[in-house]
Amino acid sequence: MGQFLQAAAYGVVQGGLLALVAVGFSLVWGVMNVINFSHGAFAVTGAYVAWLMSQRFGLDPFLAIPIVAVALFGFGYVIQRGLINLIINAPIFLTLLLTFGLNLVILNGLQLLFTSDDRTIDTSYASQSFAIGVVNVPYGRLAACFLAIVITVALALVMTRTRLGHAIGATGMDRGAARLMGIRARHIYAVTFGIAAALAGIAGTMIATVGSFNPTTTPGQLTLDAFVISVLGGLGNMYGALVGGLVLGIAESIGGLLLTGTWVNAIAMAVLIVVLVIRPSGLIGKAQYSGRVEV
């Protein structure tokens, strides 16, 4: 029983972290119908920025978050404005190919700059933990999970309460109509992508704090997780990624307890396919997005 509680607790904090990875991915997919293959690469870029800050200036990763967010926002804005906007009217899989090429460029660039060694940001508190009964909760992961929830709520408030959020939502629903209302779609798309990149960067920083990262295997795994979580949670709802992340985190940690080998991965994929076939709008997503085909 204690084992299960421990696995569930670990699943919750891990799920919060995964949700932070996926929320930007889900936002870009929902608003622009772009699948960003390089999402994991943005996360790892953010991790390297925070790692450099920590190495050079001894800056705490939680204090480096604003710097990471601003840097990644600028990077994402330029990428969307200068590259992805150019082919936004082409068949949808072109944007996927473009981001795949971008992924290769970013990751190999990082590898040439920093080598492919595993890196981690050392802090005094990340490996400490406290106990509730039989369950151990690590401080670092708990803080990351808390941050994920705060950011998701903040993003949801921005999307529903501010003019910028309304502009992003309107552009996602009907770009033509939004432009007629005076919304600058090029700018809004770039801002959306910038926000997603900044969130990915923050998630990368957290991953670097509680675990380790490298430019070869980490990004692909993060992108795949973001995929699964976005589908599970559904698009068009800011809390979708949070729900999907928690479900995936808990399912993986409890599944890892019950099953041997890597069967848990096979089960995860089977669940993904079943969710897609039975409920393509995800657990709490809006149905409008699942029937959408933009050619």
């Binding site: 997919w29 119908n33 699948i35 590259l83 906007n85 150019l86 082919i87 936004i88 009217n89 082409a90 068949p91 949808i92 899989f93 072109l94 996927l96 190919l97 473009l98 795949f100 090429g101 971008l102 992924n103 290769l104 460029v105 990751l107 190999n108 660039g109 040439l112 779609a185 090029r186 798309y189 795949l224 995929f227 699964v228 589908v231 080998g261 890597t262 069967w263 991965n265 096979a266 994929m269 089977a270 993904l272 396919i273 897609l276 076939v277 393509p280 699942s290 029937g291 959408r292 085909v293 933009e294 050619v295």
Partner: protein, 358 residues
């Protein structure tokens, strides 16, 4: 009087496959004119020329060209479902791995001849395509892409964990020497020929299919599925058959690849980058054409080999940058761009960019 299904329709193909395929070929021969025969003639001449080339080149080049031919077949196969039918599958590597493992398991565990194992591998690919195609082809756009990606990842994990049969993560080896070998190893010239024939057959199948009634049905499903259904096309059948034919070609390529590699691991033959390469080759070449995947596969595979040899550590970086540039300047694919440019006499690349940008 019951006339039965229309000649060349999908139902007719399924009822009498041999007669209909012959009919497609006879119709094709009958409609040949000097003006429309040059692609086929060119293809035949190129095939005949390549048949003799392996005598003249060194083993390393034979191996390189074998890989090029394999990607031609894979790209043509992806084009059937992703290009013509418009269902971008990101799980085609599932059929590649399935074909490879079927051959390896049959040859290693049961000492079956390769020539018997290969058709079984193709059959396995077709069956799996029908099994996942019927539920998944109801999904559209990105959702179909992710579902197929999930199917491929899931199948890899299954193969990875069925250790008693597949050897699991430790890999599998096909016996190729002495009395142990069910079929003698082909060697580099042998595999050159095998992959050349596979590529030629794939190109021929796609060329014939795309001009048949079935080919028009695929394009109709791509352009407007509801309208296609309204004019009497059984859209589910068209999609599943296109998926299955594509899977058959990919599984066959996987079977040859397995025998060529002798020893391999689940991560090798279920590598998602195979799928991504198929997609890139078709998209950059020009989807929905026969020449596009051919040009894309030959061009990109030669380019990536060239970069690997000459640029060392920078090769992936440059390869990615080239993909970005080509996608931005030729979003509709190189072959489609030149066809439209010649037809409309507008060659400006910047006008082309302007057409697709926001």
């Amino acid at each position: 009087m019951n006339a039965g299904p229309a000649r060349g329709s999908v139902a007719a193909v399924l009822q009498r496959p041999h007669r209909t395929l012959v009919q497609v070929f006879v119709d094709w021969i009958r409609t040949r004119r000097p003006a429309n025969s040059w692609p086929a003639l060119l293809g035949l001449v190129a095939f005949a020329a390549m048949l003799g080339v392996q005598q003249l080149i060194e083993p390393g080049t034979q191996r390189l060209l074998s890989a090029v031919f394999m990607f031609v077949a894979l790209a043509q196969a992806w084009n059937l479902i992703g290009g013509y039918t418009g269902y971008a599958s990101f799980g085609q590597v599932a059929f590649f791995g399935l074909g490879a493992y079927t051959v390896a398991v049959l040859m290693n565990n049961y000492h079956v001849s390769f020539w018997l194992a290969m058709p079984v591998a193709i059959l396995a690919g077709v069956l799996f395509a029908v099994l996942i195609g019927v539920p998944l082809l109801r999904l559209r756009g990105h959702y179909f892409a992710i579902a197929t990606l999930g199917a491929a990842e899931g199948l890899r994990e299954v193969v990875n964990n069925l250790t008693p049969i597949t050897g699991g993560g430790l890999g599998i080896t096909i016996p190729t020497f002495g009395d142990q070998a069910p079929t003698p190893y082909f060697g580099k010239p042998g595999f050159y020929l095998a992959f050349l024939v596979l590529a030629a057959v794939s190109v021929a199948v796609c060329a014939l299919l795309s001009r048949s009634r079935f080919g028009y049905a695929m394009v109709a499903v791509n352009e407007d599925q509801e309208a296609a259904g309204a004019v009497g096309i059984n859209t589910t059948l068209v999609k599943v058959v296109a998926f299955a034919v594509s899977a058959a070609i990919v599984a066959c390529a996987g079977a040859f690849y397995a025998f060529q590699q002798i020893e391999f691991y689940p991560t090798d033959v279920f590598d998602a980058s195979f799928t991504v390469l198929m997609v890139i080759m078709v998209m950059i070449g020009g989807s929905g054409t026969v020449a596009g995947p051919l040009a894309g596969a030959v061009g990109l595979e030669l380019l990536s080999q060239f970069l690997r040899v000459n640029l060392g550590a920078y090769n992936q970086l440059i390869f990615g940058a080239i993909i970005v540039v080509v996608v931005v300047f030729f979003p509709q694919g190189v072959v489609n761009y030149f066809r439209d440019a010649v037809r409309t006499r507008q060659f400006s690349i910047f006008d082309n960019v302007r057409r697709y940008r926001l």
